[in-house]
């Protein structure tokens, strides 16, 4: 399973829907995730990828799309 697939699976769990956003599509502007789903998604990403997201990195922009999430995870490895 690629990073993209693993991220997509987490987004689907957070959204509670089988969504299929494009890599650069905004998860917020498209209505896939609301603000309250974000903390759950970040917690799941931390667990799935064995990374720690410090509060200073907890900004909507870093988690806005699959591409941005993938880039952030890569930067934390």
């Amino acid at each position: 399973m690629t990073d993209h697939d693993r991220i997509l699976k987490i987004i689907q769990q957070a959204a509670k829907k089988p969504v299929q956003p494009a890599g650069a599509e905004s998860l917020f502007d498209s209505g896939i995730l609301d603000s309250f789903a974000l903390p759950d998604m970040v917690s799941a990403l931390e667990q799935e990828f064995a990374i720690s997201v410090p509060d200073s990195d907890l900004t909507p922009r870093k988690f806005e799309s699959i591409d941005r999430i993938a880039a952030y995870i890569e930067s934390r490895r």
Binding site: F28, S35, F36, L38, P39, V42, D55, S56, L58, T59, P60
Partner: protein, 311 residues
């Protein structure tokens, strides 16, 4: 040793319904309820000031306590919506209550101000009773044309108060944990010209993580767990945020006292209004030893929690 002995509150008479707001901002009333859990809020009259609201809540608290304002050692007033840069409302409030000459401190902090004032008062109450008031006129920010949809739905006006004493009272303050981090200072601001800005996503992300963490750390260092807490008295920011914090702590959201449906988000006033209403409801059946947790999060960011035990 300090105690939260008596509470008080004041809510303006005017009720602003979702239907009234919806017609002004162009949305369905049900949408406001869905995204915030708010059904209605109170707005002060244009003539009422933050000090007016604070005095009314302070008088209610002193009436409940049965003591004159002259016996106060200090007066603390938390507000992010005071009408003037200086002086803040504390000196006026103290004077109008009958405590002129006593030190009166302003806490110009939105949302978390009353928690910070409360925690500081608990450290100083050995010198005499301290009246802590949170008072906000949030309508002065949102009742403008054009009204901003995302913020207009959230806020209400009101004031809450608590008398902090060294003499035994209703709740004993056990411990507190306060935090500040200016990294996100631009995400929730009211500038000198009165322009309000909120990065709602950032606020929710940070609050959703920081509030449960502060509560958990405070409970852990005092040998308690979230499941043992009888009631959480949290800043009434948004019902969805309250539910989120409850979920993160793995406790039923019913343990979080909530009046946001009736009053909206009254910023620094909300936690003490909630405490006053919880106290009035709990007075019929006090349970000695019950653990209570106060918590708040606000612009700055400032956040934290305070642990108390029913006497």
């Amino acid at each position: 040793m300090s105690f939260l002995s008596f509470f008080g509150k004041y809510l303006p008479e005017r009720v602003v319904s979702n239907a009234e707001l919806a017609s002004r901002i162009g949305c369905e009333p049900g949408w406001i309820q869905e995204v915030s859990g708010i059904s209605e809020r109170r707005w002060a009259t244009p003539e009422q000031t933050v000090a007016d609201l604070a005095v009314a809540a302070g008088e209610d608290c002193l009436r409940n306590a049965g003591i004159p304002a002259s016996s106060l050692a200090m007066v603390f007033v938390a507000s992010g919506t005071a009408g003037r840069r200086f002086p803040g409302p504390a000196a006026e409030v103290a004077e109008r209550l009958g405590a002129a000459g006593k030190p009166a401190l302003d806490f110009p902090m939105a949302s978390a101000g009353s928690l910070f004032a409360l925690a500081l008062a608990a450290k100083l109450a050995a010198n005499g009773p301290i009246l802590v008031i949170g008072a906000e006129k949030m309508s002065s920010i949102v009742d403008k044309e054009p009204m901003e949809r995302e913020t207009a739905i959230l806020f209400g006006d009101g004031a809450g108060a608590v008398l902090v004493t060294s003499a035994p009272g209703q709740l004993q303050v056990v411990d507190s944990a306060l935090y500040s981090d200016g990294s996100f200072r631009d995400d929730l601001t009211l500038d000198a010209a009165g322009k309000f800005r909120m990065n709602g996503r950032s606020v929710i992300m940070q609050a959703s993580r920081k509030i449960p963490r502060a509560i958990s750390e405070l409970l852990e260092r005092n040998g308690s767990a979230a499941g043992e807490v009888a009631a959480f008295l949290m800043h009434q920011a948004n019902q969805n945020l309250i539910n989120k914090v409850a979920s993160t702590l793995a406790v039923p959201s019913e343990k979080f006292f909530s009046n946001i449906a009736r009053y909206g988000n009254t910023s620094s006033a909300s936690m003490l209004i909630a405490a006053a209403e919880w106290s009035a409801a709990a007075a019929a059946a006090p349970c000695a030893g019950n653990i209570l947790v106060f918590a708040a999060f606000g612009a700055g960011f400032h956040w934290g929690a305070l642990l108390a035990r029913a006497v």
